[in-house]
């Protein structure tokens, strides 16, 4: 592929080709409507609705057993839905068999055919589409170059690392020029460094090809890093689907707020669009109760710690802040976390600059101040 520009994505990364010599896909509109699927008494999908716009990468995020993989498998045709409808560009494919759905899929487990080389694996789908030998070889070679594995074309799966195997699987899924790309936790078996590299490659390739993609993961960092929109799933339904930023800053319910990022559930009293928490006023997000006792979910980065020799554990009536005792700190690189215990036993996590964490000592008393960042409030537990 002489026309392809080659670039190196950091140390230890294979040379990656660009999309110049592979056909860009035309994104399609995918709609899942009122999908239901039960396994015995377990409802894996409970009226799930999802729209994926042409060329968009949507990530389904959720804990194990929330139904995200079932949704992807139903879309791929590997599971039958009990009811509901799946359309691709308006065409109902609910009863179309897997082999005719024209969807490329990368699996969580390594799925390369062990008796074939990397090149033969990529060629497999092309053979089924009646492509001639020379054309097959050319297309497969181009896609292997796209994922940076031209040199390994003649290798068998057992001769490739986990990351390389998943790249070949990605090339194999893309080589058939599918309408939709389905990624079922493709990075979960890889080590942390390879995971980040491959995650970025997947996003780059997806953007260059413009292929409509559904990505399933339980890793929120992964989801927030690659997605155009993230759908948080729980109990067989999408609780919220939004851009990563919106999902983080404006979660619609307690589950989303607690699942995406960390939050401190603090008791407060709501009134006039804000809540009084730890003696301080915090603006509330839309959808929060507007009056009465509430639990406010405060993000750790909205908590500021002020060390002071005069601080005493308890509420400072003048500043409106509350003092607590440092019970633990952790260094996370650019930032750090400190755990502060209040007199009533409430534990608060604050995410602050690592330089600030470094000067904190366990047992030290600090003032806790809450920033004026809108937070979600929910009805208190048991209310």
């Amino acid at each position: 592929m002489s026309a392809a520009r080659m670039e190196t994505a950091g140390a230890g990364t294979a040379a990656i080709g660009t999309v110049a010599s592979v056909a860009p896909a035309h994104g399609v509109l995918v709609e899942l409507r009122d999908l239901r699927r039960s396994f015995g008494t377990v409802r894996a999908l409970d009226g799930m609705d999802l729209t994926i716009n042409p060329g968009e990468l949507v990530v389904l995020l959720g804990p194990s057993g929330c139904g995200k993989t079932t949704a992807l498998r139903v879309l791929a045709g590997l599971e039958d839905a009990d009811s509901g409808r799946i359309t691709v560009d308006g065409r109902d494919i609910s009863s179309v068999p897997t082999s005719k759905r024209d969807m490329g899929m990368v699996f969580q487990a390594y799925s390369l055919f062990p008796h074939m080389t990397a090149l033969q694996n990529v060629e497999f789908g092309l053979t089924l589409r009646g492509k001639g030998s020379a054309e097959r070889r050319r297309i497969a070679g181009n896609y292997l170059e796209l994922v940076g594995l031209s040199e390994q074309a003649g290798r068998y799966a057992r001769q490739l690392s986990g990351g390389q195997q998943q790249r070949v699987a990605l090339a194999r899924a893309l080589a058939i020029e599918p309408k939709v790309l389905l990624l079922d936790e493709p990075l979960s078996a890889l080590d942390a460094k390879v995971r980040v590299q491959l995650r970025d490659e997947i996003r780059r390739i997806q953007l260059e090809l413009g292929i409509t993609t559904l990505f399933v993961t339980h890793d929120q960092e992964e989801a927030l890093a690659v997605a155009d929109r993230v759908g948080v799933m729980w109990e067989g339904r999408i609780q919220q689907i939004a851009s990563p930023a919106e999902l983080y800053t404006a979660p619609v319910n307690k589950f989303v707020a607690e699942f995406v990022g960390l939050s401190n559930p603090l008791p407060g009293t709501a009134s006039e669009g804000a809540a009084t928490v730890l003696g301080q006023r915090v603006p509330l997000l839309p959808g929060s109760p507007q009056s009465g006792s509430v639990t406010v979910l405060v993000r750790p980065e909205a908590v500021t710690l002020v060390p002071g020799p005069d601080s005493a554990v308890g509420t400072d009536a003048r500043s409106g802040s509350v003092a607590g005792t440092i019970v633990g700190t952790s260094f996370l690189g650019a930032t750090g976390r400190a755990q502060v215990r209040l007199t009533d036993g409430t534990l608060i996590i604050a995410q602050i600059a690592s330089a600030e964490v470094a000067v904190l000592r366990v047992g030290e008393t600090v003032d806790i101040r809450l920033e004026q960042v809108p937070a979600l409030a929910v009805a208190p537990r048991g209310a």
Binding site: A76, D102, S111, F124
Partner: protein
Amino acid sequence: MTTSVAAPPPRDAARPQQLRRTMRRKQTTIRWIVIAVIMAFFLIPLLSMLYFSLRFPLSGKWTGQAWSNVIHMGSLAASDPADYGQLWTGLKNSAVLVVLTVVIMVVLLVPTMTWVRLRVKWLSRTVEFICLLPLTIPAIVLVVGLGPVYRIVSNVLSTNTIWLCFVYVVLVLPFAYRALDAGLAAIDLTTLSEAARSLGAHWFRVMWQIVLPNIRSAVVSACFISVALVLGEFTIAQLLARDNLQTGIFLVSQSDGQLAVTMSLAALILAFVLLMVLSLFSGDGRRTKGAST
């Protein structure tokens, strides 16, 4: 002047080398004794058969006549249908039975076991039980039940010995099941088949191009066992009055013991060669190619 203080020898090194050498020699000797006993167990009967096939028992004269007769069995069958004819027919029938049994076993068992693993996992215990059942039923008992069945088979099809293939498939089920089960368990069948289907493969192609190549060793093992079992089967053929290799050898042994023994040995060698050929055929060339990782 410098003085060096020798470090205390490690515990293992402190052990006298002489003792370790003696132990190693003893282990090697024991190993060779075990191998020799096993080889003797297998080879003495075979060498005895070879000796008996080459030395005429009454005169003590060494001759290759029995082997020549085995090689020219086809032409001798025409001239002496009483002895050689029976044996020749039995040999041909067994050859056809081997092929039919292996083909039916593979066609029946491989897709069934694959399907059970992929789609109806809850049925796997039942299938396993059914497949292993023939192991617990002695052939003589089996024949009692098979008698009426084969009366129907004789009416519907014919009395030809080749229809014994059905019961032979039943007989090889336990062994073939175990071999194939091990092969299927060694691959991620679900993921591989789903990957192939997502790429556009239909079930037949999934079976033929993905599953079979990856369980080739298991299939060949199942074939090995089937070939050996069919070539050695006597009881059912005899009790159902069909002619196979073993019944032919039995008949010949009553008039020509040397020929019977020679034929038995030839059948063993044939089976051995066949198994070697199958083994070579199943040999995975990728292993040598892939060794450079």
